[in-house]
Structures are given as structure tokens and as C-alpha cells.
Amino acid sequence: MAQIQGWDIDVRGDDGLGLPPGKGTVKQGEEIYLSQCASCHGEFGEGNGRWPELMGGNGTLTSDDPRKTVGSYWPYAPTLFDYVRRTMPFTAPQSLSNDEVYAVTAYILHLNDLLPADAELDAAGLKAIRLPNRDGFIAEDPRPDTKSASEPCMRGCRTAPPRITSDLAERLGVTPTRTPKD
């Protein structure tokens, strides 16, 4: 039905099912990206303040400060096309053509060293890209994952007196005040 087609925009991540016809180059993507994306995500996808970074972060997932980007964390490349098409640019979602979305997708993949600078991307090319963290996910939920006695202790449960390990909240000054917002 034509009515359904207008809203049927999903692209499946693992096999690219639903990718539309079209194509775009890294070079075209760079132009669109610089005018429509860079103000939030940075010229090279490095992010800007609390706006998400899109590149780098490889090898940080086990560190104290994991950086979760397209290159370091995302498992599937077609997901990037799906996400950009459905909701980017942030202030004008669904304003890009399919060719433009392919181009922006190509540029972001290029920023992550996953496409050469002279590349052109289409559905087949996007499906063929294997992201580095492809096998980084566990689909089975292992919870509950904390063990407790079936009858929790009620009296004299501690072996040592409680020791306060963190009491900065009062002094950090990051908690909003109670003043009404009006």
C-alpha cells in the first residue's frame, strides 16, 4: 500500500534489508556533513561538548573512559544509514535525500578509516562493510547476575562497620537547586 510505503523507512542492521536505491561519495558527504552535521559533531566527527562523537575510540572499550563511536562500538554499518535517514540532521529530520544519506554515511565511515577518500557508497557497498566491533555484543541477557542468599540476613549482617567510600555528592555542586522553574 502506498500509504504504508511513505512510513516504511527501516533498514535492518545486520543485512541491510530495506536499503533504498541510490549512492553517494565520501567527497559529497563531506560537503553535506560540514554544512549540516559538523556544528554538533565536530568537523572530523570528534564531537562537541555533550554532542556525540562519531569517530575514534578504538581500543577504549575496556578503559576507564570508553568512547563509543561508529568505529569503536557500533556493530553494523547499515544501522548508520537507517539512523541518519530517520532522524538527522537534528533540527531537520528526514530532510536529506537517499543519495545524500548515502554520502553522509560514506563520509562518517571514512572518518573512521573504513572507506577511502575517493569511495562511492551504495546499498551493496554498505552491506559489505564489516565494523570492527561486529562481535562485541552479547544478545542473551545473563541477569539476574548478582547472588544473594534466598533469605537475606536481618541481624548482625556486617562483618565490619560500614565505611563511607563516596560522600562527594553534597559538595560537588552538580545537583540542581529546588527553586521552581517558572
Binding site: 504504508i4 512510513w7 516504511d8 527501516d10 535492518r12 542492521g13 545486520d14 554538533c40 561538548g49 555533550r50 554532542w51 572499550l61 563509543k68 562500538y73 557500533w74 556493530p75 553494523y76 544501522t79 537507517d82 539512523y83 530517520r86 532522524t87 537534528f90 529530520p93 528526514q94 562485541g136 555484543f137 552479547i138 544478545a139 541477557d141 545473563p142 541477569r143 539476574p144 548478582t146 547472588k147 544473594s148 534466598s150 537475606p152 540476613c153 536481618m154 541481624r155 548482625g156 549482617c157 562497620p161 560500614p162 565505611r163 563511607i164 567510600t165 563516596s166 560522600d167 562527594l168 555528592a169 553534597e170 560537588l172 552538580v174 545537583t175 540542581p176 529546588r178 521552581p180 517558572d182
Partner: protein, 440 residues
């Protein structure tokens, strides 16, 4: 009521209105700033009078007793008292880049009972709150079905309906506390949860209309806001208890909560309860979309991330005392109050400790104790003025015991962001103030 009777009532009401204006207009004039000199006339706004010092206290007759109040047509849709202006959702400005993709928090310390007022339910959205004309909204069900369908809002309301009181919690609730106590307020440590009565049509009813094909195992649900947010949900959950809801606490859903229609997925993380629901597509496996890969996955210390961690494990928090609600009467009697909830069913028991987990007492649970709903607990306490470490520990009907923060960290590290349901510790200081701390 006969027409004549109605006319008689109308005449009486009209007569009252004729009698009322002199008082009303003088009060209005005063409030509009006509004359501060009239402040002694006894027509002051109650708050001003109280601020001056108790003219309305006994034995005086309060000003509101000596005047007419507002008529029935003044507020066709009522608001809270102006004295409750502090009871509002609040956001944490430094947390997100923009208020359109952000979160506000339910003021849990100011609330009683288990039902959250609709206007105080925390908000989480990814592209702002859309203003949707229900006449132009549609819900599409398609994919691996025999008959693709497009429903109008009238269609949805026409189906057999069901109501449930359900909590809804963002899996990032408490997520700012993984590495240490950071937010000195219960609203911000636990306020990404609310509990409302939700009314709609069971999703299984709609899917039966469409005819589920045997190869369908998952569904993609999608919102109509600018984020066009999507999540994949196993079809077994859809057939079990999901509800396509159009009403919240008796009235149509608030815009912030998904007007005109949202999905409720009982006991599962808030993000899958897609608001502004416009499309459900059935398929044979998950879609691996951004919100279930890049976000809403739980990074473990070994660098692997858990995916599709849907269920919300048991959680609880003491809402009095807490940093926003200190013990302000010195030593003596207080009632400890709090909330507990579990995505796995009913709360079976809540224990409260006053000494950092050495000794525990079971709290009283307020009936009704409902599956996958907030449960109110209470414990009488006579405070001796000494420092105390107040904690609560929820146990649900599956036997799951709410863990300590170090139990959680031992398994998951500190970078998994989501599903932090550790026992909360409030430190009560000798002056009655209360702080958020973590203990070992």
C-alpha cells in the same frame, strides 16, 4: 434533570454571580497592584498575608474564610495549589547537549502513594515533544502479517480495552551514580520512574486482526516524533502483555508521554515503551537499530556489551528522609517512607536498615501491591539524633534481592550506564540534614 430544573439552577447561579463581583473585583484590583495601601483591608493574597506574619492563624479568622473563592468555571481544568510550585519536574542541564534530547526527573520526594500525577511524570525524549493531531495520526501494523492494517485513533478506542497500573523506568535511572555518589537529591538519583494507570487495547488483539505469520519472531516499534525512535521487541512479549495505550490516569495521554498513543511494555526498560507510536512491523529477527546497539546496551569490563537487557530488576529508594526532605524536628518520631518496584512482578518484601546494612527491619507495604507497579513502603522510626545510614532493600516475588552497589560493580564494572538498581544509602547527619553517600 428536567429542562425547567436546569433553568432554575442556571438562574440561581446567575444570581450568585451578580452578588459576587464587588468582592471579586476589589480583590483582583489589589492583586493587579492598584494599591499596596489596601494591604490592611484583609483582602491580601493569602501568601502575602502569611509572609507578613500569621494574621490568618488562630484565633484570627483567615481572609479566605471571609471572602468568596473562585467559581466553578474559573478553572475548567484544575491545577495544583500555587503553594505547591516547588513540586515540579527538574532536569540536569549539564547532562545533555540540548533540552530536546534530554530527560527531566519525577519529584519523588514530594509525592505520596503509588500513582504519579500525569504532569509530574519524568520525561525522556530524543527530539522534543511533538504536537500530534490525533485526526491525522495513524498506527500501521505490517511486515510478517496476513493483512497489513492502518488504524485511526477511533479504531483503536473501539477495540475491547484494558487498564493496568504500571511503573515505567528509564534504564539509565541511577546511571549517574555508578562511579560514586554524585547527585545529592532523590529526584535525581531515582526520579526516572513513574507509575500511572494506563488504558488501551492489548497489542495481541491488534495483532490478531492483522494475522501473525508463523515466521514472525520480533517486532519493530516506531514513534512519530522527530527521532522516529525504533526498538526491536520479541513477539512473545508483544503477545503476552503489551498494551497500545491512549489514556493515562483516566484522561488522554499527555503529550510528553506519547499523545495520542504509546506502547506500554510492562516491566521492561522505558525506552522500548515507544511514545507517539506510529508503526509496528513484524519480522524474524531484531533490526539492530541505533537505540539497541549504540545506546541501551550495557558495556561490561571485558569490553563486551550486553544487548536486549529488557527487564528492570527490583529497585527501591527511601523518599523520606532524603537530601530534599531532612529530619527537621530534631529527635523523635518519623515515618520512613519509600518506593519499591520490580519488572519481574510483585514486590514481596522491603527491608530497611538504619545502620548501613548491619541490621534490617521489614517495612509495611501499602496495599494494593501490584505486579510491575510502584509499591509504597513505610516504617515507623524514633530517631535518637545520632548519625544514621538509611537503606532499603527490595525483594520481589521471583526471590530476587536488590543488590548493593559493590555487588553490582563486581559483575558489571562502572561503565555500563544502564540498569543500576543498587541499594541507595542516605546518611542522616546529627543536624537532621541528609546526604547521598556510598558505603562498603
Amino acid at each position: 434533570m428536567a429542562i425547567d430544573d436546569r433553568n432554575e439552577v442556571a438562574r440561581q447561579v446567575a444570581a450568585m454571580r451578580v452578588a459576587a463581583p464587588p468582592l471579586r473585583s476589589s480583590r483582583r484590583g489589589l492583586l493587579a497592584g492598584v494599591g499596596a495601601a489596601a494591604a490592611t483591608a484583609g483582602l491580601l493574597h493569602p501568601r502575602l498575608a502569611l509572609a507578613k506574619g500569621g494574621e490568618n492563624l488562630p484565633p484570627n479568622v483567615p481572609e479566605w474564610t471571609r471572602m468568596l473563592g473562585a467559581g466553578v468555571s474559573e478553572k475548567p481544568y484544575g491545577n495544583p495549589s500555587p503553594f505547591e510550585k516547588h513540586v515540579v519536574r527538574r532536569n540536569v542541564e549539564w547532562l545533555t547537549a540540548t533540552e530536546q534530547s534530554s530527560v527531566s526527573f519525577t519529584p519523588l520526594p514530594d509525592l505520596e502513594g503509588i500513582v504519579t500525577p500525569s504532569g509530574l511524570c519524568f520525561e525522556r525524549h530524543h527530539a522534543g515533544v511533538p504536537e500530534i493531531d490525533p485526526q491525522q495520526h495513524r498506527l500501521i501494523i505490517h511486515g510478517m502479517v496476513d493483512r497489513p492494517l492502518i488504524f485511526t485513533m477511533d479504531d483503536l478506542v473501539r477495540f475491547p480495552s484494558v487498564s493496568r497500573i504500571l511503573f515505567l523506568e528509564c534504564p539509565a535511572n541511577g546511571g549517574m551514580e555508578w562511579k560514586g555518589a554524585q547527585m545529592n537529591g532523590c529526584q535525581f538519583t531515582h526520579g526516572m520512574v513513574h507509575c500511572c494507570e494506563w488504558t488501551g487495547v492489548k497489542l495481541s488483539t491488534l495483532l490478531a486482526e492483522a494475522g501473525v505469520r508463523p515466521e514472525a519472531k520480533w517486532m519493530l516499534v516506531e514513534g512519530a516524533d522527530g527521532a522516529v525512535m525504533t526498538r526491536s521487541i520479541p513477539l512473545a512479549k508483544a503477545m503476552d502483555d503489551c498494551i497500545v495505550c491512549y489514556a493515562q490516569n483516566g484522561e488522554r495521554i499527555r503529550p510528553e508521554q506519547g499523545y495520542p498513543v504509546r506502547l506500554m511494555v510492562p516491566g521492561w526498560e522505558g525506552n522500548v515503551n515507544v511514545k507517539w507510536l506510529r508503526r509496528i512491523k513484524l519480522g524474524d529477527r531484531p533490526w539492530q537499530h541505533r537505540e539497541e546497539t549504540s545506546k541501551y546496551t550495557d558495556l561490561m569490563p571485558d569490553g563486551k556489551a550486553r544487548q536486549f537487557t529488557f527487564v528492570l530488576d527490583a529497585n527501591s529508594v527511601v523518599t523520606f528522609p532524603c537530601p530534599e526532605k531532612p529530619l527537621k524536628f530534631g529527635k523523635g518520631f518519623y515515618e520512613i517512607r519509600g518506593l519499591a518496584w520490580s519488572g519481574r512482578g510483585r514486590i514481596k518484601r522491603v527491608d530497611v536498615s538504619l545502620d548501613g546494612g548491619d541490621n534490617w527491619q521489614s517495612a509495611q507495604l501499602q496495599e494494593p501491591v501490584l505486579s510491575q507497579a510502584l509499591t509504597r513502603f513505610r516504617l515507623p522510626w524514633t530517631w535518637d539524633g545520632a548519625p544514621a545510614l538509611v537503606q532499603s532493600r527490595a525483594i520481589d516475588e521471583s526471590g530476587y534481592v536488590q543488590p548493593t552497589i559493590d555487588q553490582l560493580r563486581a559483575v558489571r564494572g562502572v561503565n555500563s550506564i544502564y540498569h543500576k538498581n543498587a541499594q541507595q544509602t542516605w546518611r542522616v547527619n546529627p543536624d537532621g540534614t541528609v546526604n547521598n553517600v556510598q558505603i562498603l
